[in-house]
């Protein structure tokens, strides 16, 4: 049995993680990290919530420091998850919420997987541009993205 931390945001990012988790036919322990207000896919008991990273409601002046503090908070939560649950893998379907846990996971030599969004056909996401530098595996769902992820793997679409 493995412990896998899934990190995802709202809307389509959650839907992609949901489709992944629906196909988990092994007795893995799944931990979820998502945005405050988003309903966890499997269980609220093993879910951690992070405030939305780049909320536009706070305006351009406050959005950067807010992202910085939320990232710091998320880093602490990620460390707590690493100590408490000892995940073997960290998987993220984006968006920005995936960046910090993947980076910390890589530092602690965890298996890290970033799955580029299924809506990307011509340009990679900001999180993808950042995460491809350090994650162990990048999966992309549209063949058109091959040139953006020369070391990534085409995975088919969720």
């Amino acid at each position: 049995m493995k412990t896998i931390l899934f990190v995802y945001g709202s809307g389509g990012h959650r839907e992609q993680s949901k489709r992944l988790l629906k196909n988990n036919n092994r007795p893995n322990q799944i931990i979820e990290m998502t945005e405050t207000g988003v309903t966890p896919i499997l269980s609220t008991e093993k879910a951690y919530f992070i405030p939305e990273m780049n909320s536009k409601y706070y305006g351009p002046l406050l959005s950067f420091p807010r992202t910085f503090f939320v990232s710091f908070y998320q880093g602490l939560i990620t460390l707590i998850i690493l100590i408490r649950h000892k995940p073997n893998k960290i998987v993220s379907t984006g968006p920005l919420i995936g960046a910090v846990p993947l980076l910390i996971g890589r530092i602690f030599k965890k298996d890290t997987i970033f799955i580029e969004s299924w809506s990307r056909f011509s340009d990679s996401s900001k999180t993808g541009k950042f995460a491809k530098r350090f994650v162990r595996t990048v999966l992309y769902q549209n063949k058109e993205m091959a040139s953006k992820y020369p070391n990534g793997k085409y995975s088919g679409r969720l």
Binding site: S10, G11, N23, F121, S155, G156, R157
Partner: protein, 145 residues
């Protein structure tokens, strides 16, 4: 005619405005899902969120949707050909990308100019679209083993 309009979890004010205007000029029955708390209009049934959105997709004659990937793929996988309206009010470009993908592959119709939504509704039933196809995800073992 029964029309279901969905904007997902993000606001799409220009589409909502056009839908309200449409309801005032036609006899179409319109159901609208959008995150606004209230849409006070006598000819529009509105809700913010439902766990069972498929029910609304299936009971509508025409579905009008924002170009959110999750919604578009789900509709196309169900064999429903929606009128896709990309939300160009958003700062990121992924709705444009999905809309182009759907349009270029002739999976359904895309309405780039919101004020032309009625034209799209009128010609939608007579349009020929291609059945949506995809390579299914094949990395489940890699992720879960």
């Amino acid at each position: 005619m029964k029309i279901f309009v969905t904007t997902g979890t993000t606001k799409f004010n220009s589409l909502v405005k056009e839908v309200i205007s449409l309801s005032e000029n036609t006899l179409m029955k319109i159901i609208l899902q959008c995150p606004s708390k209230t849409i006070n209009h006598p000819r529009i049934t509105h809700f913010q969120f439902t766990e069972n959105i498929d029910k609304y997709y299936k009971s509508a004659d025409i579905v009008i949707t924002h170009a959110g990937a999750g919604t578009c793929y789900r509709l196309l996988e169900s064999g429903i050909k929606p009128i896709v309206v990309p939300n160009l009010e958003r700062s990121d470009s992924h709705q444009r990308e999905i809309a182009l993908y759907i349009e270029n592959n002739k999976y359904s119709s895309v309405c780039w100019e919101i004020e032309k939504i009625e034209e799209h509704i009128n010609k939608h039933a007579d349009s020929n679209f291609i059945e949506y196809q995809k390579d299914d995800f094949f990395y489940y073992d890699f992720i879960f083993s």
